[in-house]
Amino acid sequence: MQPLANITPLKPAGAIEVRNVGQVFKTTTQDVVALEDVSLDVKPGRFVVLVGPSGCGKSTLLMMMAGLRQQTSGTITISGAPIPEPDPNRVGVVFQEASLFPWLTAEENVEFPLALRGIAKSDRRTRAQDALKLVGLDGFGKRHPHELSGGMKQRVSIARGLVQDPPVLLMDEPFAALDEQTRMTMGDELLRIWAATGKTVVFVTHSLTEAVYLADEVIVMSPRPGRIVDHLQVPLPRPRTYEMLSGDTFGSLRDRIWRHIRKSA
């Protein structure tokens, strides 16, 4: 086994590399360029937010990082290896709230990826309960999704994404369906979970405030064709607080993103 380690490029777990990635959708009438020459580096443990108007390809890019879609050109590596198909040991994915299985309890939903791999029931239960505890849902495991609020459902989704302890967590507009108060609370919750686990997070959103509030780095994308127009660092200290929202740093970062988006809309 020793030589293998020399062949495989030694990239730290959780690093994401996107190199000259393009995506073309072929329709009957024309080819639509969804992404053009996108390159991006995410260092392990960083919280990166992809933001941009509809059609800029941010969700497409996320799906490719998850192995759910293949790029037309370029390469993507996660922890140093390409991702030709979904690999829940390397990447956990969190979708909008509709993606919980309504016929399973919260606990069974979190166990689902473990059950797919044939892990023993008792082991599954322990790990699901640990994950639910991590997201603050201790004691809610026996409820079905329709018995949970929107925010709680999203906590279950996060627990499901984390249950196999992957170094990378990809989130596709996870809070889009929530009301604003719940959304703020869930943002703080997510930052707490992120700080506790040290995962690399890539988070897609429409909301500029959410982007700046959560991120270490914000990637701004524009449509037709989808590409990266800006990559900014958020110098605000952690933990983030509600007061920062009205500060000058926050305002100028949000303005800068907004100017890009207005130009492309």
Partner: protein, 265 residues
């Protein structure tokens, strides 16, 4: 008074009226024999009715297996593959508007007047709604659920067993409810038209000799059969789908599907 008590009262008073009105002479015995004389007629010919019931139940059971088994199988294929759907669905939908009972004389020419022609007719009669409901149930599965399962590394067969089948259960059950009821209708109607055995045959034979108590004894048996079938489906629904109320599919399955699938008789 609760709705359930009120319902029971209505049923009890209807039964009481059935006994009182003919007895008091308000309705001639030829039109409506009293409940007691109906039961007595059935009891006196218990052997004959028992034999007829056995024949009918046998035909219903076989037709149910063909209609439901075939309906679910074909519905699953048509619902999940776009090409068969485009080819077959319009034909099936227009076939559904045809009063299928016109085919029954043809079946008796092909298969004789024994059980085979009844089974063939009732199977086709119950097959269509089961198939349409299953196809609809599979088509309306939320694609987010399948995407989420794939992101957790579910193989095609795991997605079928753990996502598609449980998600389709409520709509399939509502299809079974309609399809199964139509199987009973199909068997009894075909027995009444051309046959030599079964409850429908008895009803029709006693009618030609104007023996109303014996006609109504047969009607009671068919009623009992339909009520037993309904109770069985309700029991399965309760067992299989505790979560029905929590999902779109579950809510619409209860009301809209049976209404939309009312057949032309």
């Amino acid at each position: 008074m609760s709705a359930a008590t009120l319902r029971r009262l209505i049923v009890i008073s209807l039964i009481a009226l059935w006994e009182i009105l003919p007895r008091a002479g308000f309705i001639p015995e030829l039109f409506l024999p009293s409940l007691s004389s109906t039961l007595a007629a059935g009891w006196n010919e218990a052997g004959e009715y028992g034999h007829a019931l056995a024949v009918t139940l046998y035909e219903v059971a076989i037709s149910m297996a063909f209609a439901c088994g075939g309906g679910i199988l074909f519905g699953a294929v048509v619902g999940s593959l776009p090409r068969p759907r485009i080819l077959i669905m319009p034909m099936v939908s227009s076939l559904y508007a045809v009063p299928l009972v016109i085919l029954y004389p043809v079946f008796t020419v092909w298969l004789g007047i024994g059980s085979e022609s009844k089974i063939a007719f009732a199977s086709i009669y119950g097959f269509l709604p089961t198939m349409l409901a299953t196809a609809a149930g599979i088509q309306t599965i939320d694609p987010q659920l399948l995407l989420a399962a794939r992101s957790m590394g579910a193989t095609l067969s795991q997605r079928l067993v753990r996502v598609i089948i449980p998600a389709a259960i409520p709509t399939v059950l509502s299809g079974l409810r309609v399809g199964g009821a139509l199987v009973i209708v199909g068997v009894v109607v075909s027995e009444m038209l051309i046959s030599s055995a079964g409850i429908g045959y008895l009803i029709s034979r006693y009618r030609t000799i104007l023996d109303s108590p014996h006609v109504f004894a047969g009607v009671l048996l068919v009623l009992a059969m339909a009520i037993a079938f309904n109770a069985a489906i309700k029991w399965i629904e309760r067992k299989a789908a505790i979560w029905q109320t929590g999902t779109r599919a579950g809510q619409s399955a209860e009301e809209t599907v049976p209404a939309a699938l009312q057949p032309a008789t």
